[in-house]
C-alpha cells in the first residue's frame, strides 16, 4: 500500500528533535536552573554527560563527554542525575502530538522522531505551517522547544533539523538539497563517524560537495560495498521509508550471579548459556543479527560492553555463542583479575531472518539440550559436579 512512499516523488518527511531534551526537562522542573548551565548524567568518577543545556554547550561541553571533563570546562555547571521516568512521561506527550498528525511516526529515541506527512501536506507553505504547528503544540503541552527539519527524505530532514538548533525550523525543498548539503562537513552524514571522517579528510574530502564529486574508485577503499550508498547520501538521495511500529532494535539476556565468577572457564560457560538464551529469543522473533555485544559487570560495579559486527547477518547459535566467547576472552586479557557479578549477551543490527540455516536445528537441539542438562545437574549437585573434559582439574581447583 505504501508503494507511492518508498522512494518516490512527493514525499514530505519531518525530523523532529527536542532541544537538549533531558537538560531542558530539568530546567523546566527546576525553574531556578533556567538560564544556567545544566548537565545531566552520572556524577560518579566514571560518569558521562547524557545531556547538556545550551548554556553549558557554550563552554564546549558535549554529550557523551566524561563528567569530570565537562566540569573542568564548566565548573559552575549544575549536575543533575537522569530521571528517565520523567523523561519518558514528557516523551509520551510529545509522541502523542506526532501521532495525532500522522500514523507514520518512527521514533528514534525518547526525544527524536521521523514523521511522514506526505498525505497531510502538499505545498511548501503547508509544510512550513505544519512544522510551526508541531513546535507550538509541543511547547504548549510540555513547555519545551524542539527543532524541526523538513525534507524530501529522512536523510535531508535529519540534517535540516540540526541546522538552526535550538528552536529551529528548516525546510529544504527538493531543488535546494544540493545547495544546502554541499557546504556541510561530511560528518553530518549518518554513517560517517569520527574514524571514517578522518580517513576522508586525509584524502582531502572535507565537505559533502567534495564527497559528491569524488570518483568512485577513490571511495571504494573507504566504503567498500557501501560506496554507492554513500554517494547517494552525498547527493541527498535516500529511499528509506519512515517505519512506524515498535520493531525491536536489540535483543538480549543477562544474568547476575549469586556468587561472583572468578575464573575464565566458568565465565565462558555461563556466557554460553546466556548466548543460547539470546539466540533463542532472536530465533523466536524470526530475526537475524549483525552485531553481538557482551556486557560484563565486575565486583566493583564497573560495567564494560564489548561488541563485534559481522556480515552477513545470522541467527546461528554457534556464531553468536562463539563471538560472545571471543569478546569475553578479549576482555579477560585486559582485566585478568576481575571478578564478574553479571554477564549479558545482546544482539543488534536486526533484520528479518529470511535465509534459513542448514545447521540451525542441529546446533539448536544438540547444544541447547546439553547445556540445559548441564544446568540441571549443577543446580542439583553443585557447580563442580560436572565440568568439561578439556578443563584440567588442577587449574580449576587451584
Amino acid at each position: 500500500m505504501n508503494a507511492s512512499r518508498s522512494g518516490v516523488p512527493g514525499r514530505i518527511i519531518f525530523h523532529v528533535d527536542m532541544d537538549a531534551f533531558y537538560a531542558s526537562v530539568e530546567q523546566l522542573d527546576s525553574p531556578e536552573w533556567r538560564g544556567l548551565p545544566v548537565l545531566v548524567g552520572g556524577t560518579g568518577p566514571r560518569g558521562v554527560v547524557a545531556a547538556a543545556s545550551y548554556e553549558a554547550r557554550g563552554f564546549g561541553v558535549r554529550s557523551a563527554m566524561p563528567m569530570s571533563e565537562a566540569l573542568r570546562r564548566c565548573p559552575r555547571a549544575i549536575c543533575a542525575r537522569p530521571r528517565m521516568d520523567r523523561y519518558r512521561e514528557v516523551s509520551r506527550e510529545v509522541f502523542a502530538i506526532f501521532r495525532s498528525l500522522t500514523p507514520l511516526v518512527q521514533g528514534l529515541s525518547l526525544d527524536e522522531a521521523f514523521l511522514d506527512v506526505s498525505d497531510q501536506v502538499r505545498t511548501r507553505r503547508q509544510a512550513r505551517e505544519l512544522g510551526k504547528f508541531i513546535k507550538q503544540q509541543i511547547h504548549k503541552a510540555t513547555g519545551l522547544t524542539a527543532s524541526v527539519g523538513i525534507g524530501p527524505n529522512k536523510l535531508v530532514a535529519k540534517i535540516a533539523s540540526d541546522l538552526e538548533k535550538p528552536d529551529g525550523l528548516v525546510l529544504v525543498g527538493k531543488m535546494e538539497v544540493q545547495e544546502v548539503l554541499d557546504p556541510l562537513p561530511v560528518r553530518v552524514i549518518n554513517g560517517i563517524g569520527p574514524r571514517t571522517g578522518e580517513v576522508l579528510e586525509s584524502r582531502g574530502i572535507h565537505l559533502i560537495r567534495d564527497l559528491r564529486n569524488c570518483p568512485v574508485e577513490l571511495l571504494t577503499p573507504v566504503f567498500g560495498r557501501f560506496t554507492r550508498r554513500m554517494l547517494d547520501k552525498a547527493s541527498g538521495i535516500d529511499d528509506r521509508p519512515v517505519e512506524p511500529g515498535g520493531k525491536s532494535k536489540s535483543i538480549s539476556a543477562e544474568e547476575t550471579f549469586d556468587q561472583d565468577l572468578l575464573e575464565l572457564p566458568e565465565m565462558l560457560e555461563q556466557l554460553s548459556l546466556i548466548s543460547i538464551r539470546t539466540a533463542r529469543r532472536l530465533a523466536a522473533k524470526e530475526l537475524q543479527a549483525t552485531t553481538v555485544s557482551v556486557k560484563i559487570r565486575d565486583r566493583e560495579f564497573r560495567t564494560v560492553t564489548r561488541q563485534h559486527s559481522f556480515s552477513p547477518a545470522t541467527q546461528s547459535v554457534d556464531i553468536l555463542e562463539q563471538t560472545a566467547r571471543h569478546l569475553l576472552e578479549q576482555w579477560r586479557v585486559e582485566y585478568p583479575y576481575s571478578a564478574v557479578r553479571l554477564l549479558g549477551v545482546g544482539v543488534s543490527g536486526l533484520e528479518p531472518a529470511r535465509q534459513m540455516d542448514l545447521f540451525a536445528s542441529e546446533v539448536e537441539t544438540s547444544s541447547s539440550q546439553v547445556q540445559e542438562l548441564i544446568k540441571q545437574v549443577r543446580q542439583r549437585y553443585g557447580s563442580k559436579a560436572l565440568r568439561k573434559g578439556s578443563e584440567p582439574d588442577g587449574k580449576r581447583q587451584a
Binding site: 518508498s6 545470522t314 529470511r354 535465509q355 534459513m356 540455516d357 542448514l358 545447521f359 542441529e362
Partner: protein, 366 residues
C-alpha cells in the same frame, strides 16, 4: 650463489609461487622467496605460513647456494625484461645482483636460514590421482566454502577418503556442495577426514591444469600435492567439520527435472530484479510448470515460466538465487534434477541419474 637462465625459464617458477607471497608485510621475510640453486636445479619457495609452494626448474648453476629475495620485485624485474633475455643472478655477501644485457639490479636479501619452511609431514595416506579429478572436485565445491566465518572449520573444504572414494564437501551454513571421485588404490584405505583452508583450496585450484597424475599426501597437520615441477603444501584446519550427511535430505521427495541451460538462463534473468541484498526469488512449482518471480525495493518485478517434468504437489518456496545459480553452474549434463520437500526444507540439486555431485540449499522465508 651464481646462476643464469633464460627469462622464460626463470619466470615460470616465480609466477607459480607468487600467489602466496604476503602482501601485508606482517613478517618481512614472508615478502621474500627462498631461492636455492643446487645441482643444476633452481627451486623457489614462497609461503604465507599457511600455504607453501615450491617450484623448480633447470638452470645453469655456476655456484651453488641459497638466499631469500624480495619476491614481488624479483618477479616484476624478470617480467619487465625483454622476451628471450638471458638473466644472470649472483649473490655476494648480503646483496643479490641481477644482470641482463645492459640492465643491472641490486636487491636486498635475508638469510635462507630465517625462511620458515614447513617441517616434514607425518604422512598418513598417499594416493595417486589425476589432476583433472582434483580440479573438478574443487571446482564443483569451492564456492560453498564460508569466508571469514567464526565457525573457522567452515572456512575451508572437507576432503574425505573412504573406500577408494575421494570426496570434497564445502558449506557456509546456508548451502552445501558435495562432490566425489574414485581413485585406484592397491591397499584398502582407511577412512580419513581433513579440512583444507580456503586459501589453500584457491591456490591449489590455480596450479592444477594438465591431465597428468599427481601425488596427494595427507598428513595429520598438512596436505601436500606434488605436480611435475611444483609442490603444494597447506596446513590443515584443526576442527570438526559438521556431520554433513545429516543435512542431505534422504528418501522419497518430490522431483523436478528441467533442461539445465533453459532453467539457468531464466533464473539469471529473474535474478536481475531480485533484492540486491537478500537475492531472494520465489519459485512456484506445479505439474509441468515452474514459475519464478523476483522483485526489489524499487517495486520492479521479473517473472519467468519454464516447462519442467514434475508431477508432485504444488510448492511455493523461496531461495537465494545466487546459491541456486552456483549449483546449476557446477552440475554437469543437459538435464538437472531438483528434489524438494516443503517450503521450509532444503532442496537438493544434482544431475539426473547416479549423481556424484550434490548441492543442498536451504530456502529463504518468503
Amino acid at each position: 650463489m651464481k646462476l643464469s637462465a633464460n627469462r622464460e625459464v626463470l619466470l615460470a617458477p616465480l609466477q607459480a609461487v607468487i600467489g602466496v607471497v604476503e602482501r601485508r608485510q606482517t613478517m618481512p621475510i614472508l615478502a621474500n622467496m627462498l631461492v636455492v640453486a643446487r645441482q643444476g636445479v633452481l627451486s623457489v619457495t614462497a609461503t604465507d605460513l599457511e600455504v607453501e609452494l615450491v617450484a623448480s626448474t633447470e638452470v645453469n648453476v655456476e655456484e651453488e647456494g641459497e638466499i631469500t629475495l624480495p619476491g614481488r620485485k624479483l618477479l616484476d624485474i624478470c617480467k619487465a625484461l625483454p622476451e628471450g633475455a638471458k638473466i644472470n643472478l649472483s649473490v655476494l655477501a648480503d646483496k643479490a645482483t641481477i644482470r641482463s644485457g645492459k640492465s643491472r639490479f641490486t636487491l636486498s636479501t635475508l638469510p635462507a636460514t630465517e625462511f620458515p619452511t614447513i617441517e616434514e609431514m607425518n604422512v598418513q595416506q598417499k594416493l595417486k590421482i589425476s589432476q583433472e579429478a582434483i580440479r573438478s572436485l574443487l571446482q564443483k565445491t569451492h564456492f560453498s566454502m564460508a569466508q571469514q566465518d567464526v565457525r573457522y572449520y567452515l572456512n575451508g573444504l572437507l576432503l574425505e577418503v573412504e573406500n577408494n572414494i575421494l570426496r570434497a564437501v564445502a558449506t557456509d551454513g546456508h548451502r552445501l556442495a558435495l562432490s566425489e571421485v574414485d581413485f585406484d588404490s592397491k591397499e584398502s584405505s582407511e577412512g580419513l577426514q581433513v579440512i583444507v583452508p580456503r586459501k589453500g583450496v584457491l591456490e591449489l585450484q590455480r596450479l592444477l591444469g594438465s591431465d597428468a597424475d599427481v601425488v596427494l599426501s595427507i598428513g595429520s597437520n598438512h596436505i601436500r600435492v606434488e605436480l611435475d615441477s611444483i609442490r603444494f603444501t597447506s596446513k590443515l584446519i584443526d576442527g570438526r567439520f559438521p556431520e554433513y550427511g545429516r543435512v542431505i535430505p534422504q528418501g522419497a521427495n518430490q522431483v523436478m527435472i528441467a533442461d539445465r541451460g533453459i532453467l539457468r538462463a531464466a533464473m539469471q534473468r529473474t535474478a536481475i530484479l531480485s533484492n540486491e541484498k537478500y537475492r531472494g526469488i520465489r519459485l512456484e512449482l506445479k505439474a509441468g510448470l515452474l514459475t519464478m518471480q523476483a522483485h526489489n525495493p524499487e517495486q520492479e518485478e521479473a517473472e519467468e515460466e519454464v516447462e519442467v517434468q514434475y508431477e508432485g504437489d504444488e510448492i511455493e518456496i523461496g531461495f537465494n538465487v545466487n546459491y541456486i545459480l552456483d549449483a546449476l553452474g557446477a552440475v554437469e549434463g543437459d538435464e538437472v534434477q531438483v528434489t524438494l520437500g516443503d517450503s521450509n526444507s532444503s532442496c537438493v540439486i544434482s544431475e539426473t541419474g547416479g549423481a556424484r555431485s550434490k548441492y543442498v540449499v536451504m530456502p529463504m522465508r518468503l
